[in-house]
């Protein structure tokens, strides 16, 4: 129960931190912000790795679900960061 309270605390504080941070992002960068946060929400990749690599030969279903999750999350991570980088490079001022 104590762990749950700690995790909830972490959740709420991160929400507030997120709101503080994101309100400072200028409208010009809202599209890269969205694709960038797509990439960040690919953090589920961590959970997917744990599921796909559980190594329990008797539980193929878990492995397959983990594999699906891992594929989707990796598309998010790789696709999200690459396309964000592509966009942001265009915003760089030509000196």
């Amino acid at each position: 129960m104590e762990t749950l309270v700690l995790l909830l605390l972490l959740f709420v504080i991160s929400l507030f931190l997120g709101i503080e941070l994101i309100t400072k992002v200028p409208a010009t960068l809202h599209t890269p912000l969205m694709s960038g946060s797509n990439a960040i929400s690919g953090i589920t990749i961590v959970g997917a790795i744990l599921a796909a690599g559980n190594g329990d030969g008797n539980n193929q279903l878990v492995t397959i679900l983990g594999f699906i999750a891992l594929t989707l999350a990796t598309i998010n991570v790789v696709g999200g960061y690459l396309v964000t980088n592509r966009m942001l490079a265009m915003f760089k001022r030509k000196d």
Binding site: F16, L17, S41, I45, I49, T71, I75, V83
Partner: protein, 462 residues
């Protein structure tokens, strides 16, 4: 690997994500911010691979290779005009990944009575939000890609059906908690949540897509955070809630910019339009058209020109042509700026990305609140593919369905040029009195073609 070392590494990764988003607060630091965020992700992945619970690697390598290749192809091939579709798709994949992780955790089983309830609640919540995000995003993608009609799709009593679906899903979560060994309730939950996702987005019209994408973005983050509660994984919780907050803020900005409540957007409610306005009455005998040569002649003597781009510019892929026209105008000695309405385009910031692609410096892209006071000192305002966001009825006509929506005060400029195919209405389905004003000239035709012809005329005049 040592448990606390793992947690420390996750903490560092979370800090890198936060610094990454902080980098996005300025265009100059944004690329570095994205790199920091990506290195945080790499760190999180590497330490997870070293986790003692990871016993076999073949499926992991396969998944990362497949996802990596697909992601890289998607990111490098996608056209900038299609970014809204890509973001919608990625939102869906994020939700789908969290959904699959939750279901996998369910089938791994081994719930003891002590921590079991919390884990089961988290699994239920993640399945619900993940499935809604997955199917809802697929509908949003279909609408943006124009596979599905952009019109509101629905049937009488849809709200009631949605309420029943949600109640059933929550009941299924309760049943999963009470009796974790009976998998059938998990299937019921997945099915109802998936249908709910479809039904929630189908009634939402094309004009409201920026709100929907932002909201689904938020859901995908919250699904990841919720998945974090299943495994007690701190980095998932921190990161997921950051993304959740980001989506919520963007959703609010979009709603404010359209003067619509989130409730009305979500349930496809349009404001009641007092008396219907007859387009013929607004336009009859008052619309004047012009030619590219005439526009070029006026531009020669202008000192300040403002360009107002809208989704029509994206549709015509005219951003590069617009940039060239702006160059030609500047060579004539005028000052050119771009007025960006928050909901111009199909997602937050869409116009900015398109113009950045065409190498327009970002300091020339001016937000609504800053550019509006300058329109009465503007010689020529050129509207390209924008409609509802310039409609003066939103400011003046209390009976209008869009009354109260913040608009660009284009009509205050000395001369307004509207580049448009016809007098057809925008998403709101309303006539635009701007087109019939004394100081407005219509340049009928394809956006890109018209802009190219103006540019040619300007160059010949030199």
């Amino acid at each position: 690997m040592n448990e606390s070392f793992l947690d420390l590494a996750y903490l560092v990764a979370a800090a890198l994500f936060i610094l990454g988003i902080k980098g996005l607060t300025r265009p100059r630091t944004a690329v570095r911010g994205n790199m920091l965020s990506a290195s945080g992700m790499l760190l999180a992945v590497v330490v997870t691979l070293l986790d003692k619970n990871v016993l076999s690697y073949e499926w992991i390598i396969g998944g990362i290779a497949l996802g990596g290749i697909l992601g890289a192809i998607l990111a490098t091939r996608i056209q900038m005009t299609a970014i809204p579709q890509m973001v919608a798709l990625l939102n869906g994949f994020g939700g789908g990944a969290s959904l699959a992780v939750a279901v996998a955790n369910y089938f791994q089983g081994g719930f003891n009575t002590e921590t079991g309830i919390i884990t089961l609640i988290a699994i239920g919540t993640t399945v619900l939000i993940g499935a809604v995000t997955l199917t809802g995003s697929m509908v949003a993608f279909g609408k943006l890609q124009e596979i599905i009609s952009g019109q509101s799709i629905g049937f009488p009593g849809m709200k009631l059906v949605n309420a029943v679906l949600l109640a059933t899903a929550i009941y299924a979560i309760v049943m999963v908690i009470i009796n974790p060994t009976d998998a059938s309730w998990v299937y019921v939950l997945i099915a109802t949540a998936s249908i709910l996702g479809l039904f929630l987005v189908l009634p939402i019209g094309g004009a409201d897509m920026p709100v929907v994408i932002a909201l689904l973005n938020s859901y995908s983050g919250i699904a990841a955070a919720s998945a974090g509660f299943i495994m007690g994984n701190t980095v998932l919780i921190v990161t997921g809630s950051l993304v959740g907050a980001s989506g919520i803020i963007l959703t609010r900005i979009m709603c404010v910019a359209m003067n619509r409540s989130l409730f009305n957007v979500l349930f496809g409610v349009m404001a009641e339009g007092g008396e219907t306005i007859d387009a013929d009455e607004v336009y009859e005998g008052k619309v004047k058209s012009t030619s590219p040569d005439e526009v070029a002649m006026m531009l020669e003597t202008a000192r300040r020109v403002v360009i107002i781009p809208g989704y029509g510019m994206a549709m015509a892929q005219a951003q590069h042509a617009v940039r060239e026209m702006a160059n030609a105008i500047e060579e004539m000695g005028a000052n050119v700026e771009y007025a960006i309405h928050p909901v111009a385009g199909r997602m937050p910031g869409h116009m900015n990305v398109l113009l950045a692609e065409a190498e327009v410096p970002y300091d020339k892209l001016v937000e609504m609140d800053r550019i509006n006071p300058t329109f009465d000192q503007t010689d020529i305002a050129i509207v390209i593919g924008a409609n509802d966001v310039t409609n003066p009825m939103a400011r003046e006509d209390k009976g209008s369905p869009i009354y109260g929506m913040p608009i660009l005060n284009v009509d205050k400029a000395k001369t307004v040029i509207v580049v448009k195919r016809s007098l057809s209405p925008g998403f709101a389905g309303l006539p635009n009195p701007l087109f019939a004003m004394d100081n407005t000239l219509m340049l009928f035709g394809d956006g890109k073609q018209a802009v190219v012809e103006i540019t040619q005329a300007l160059k010949e005049a030199r």
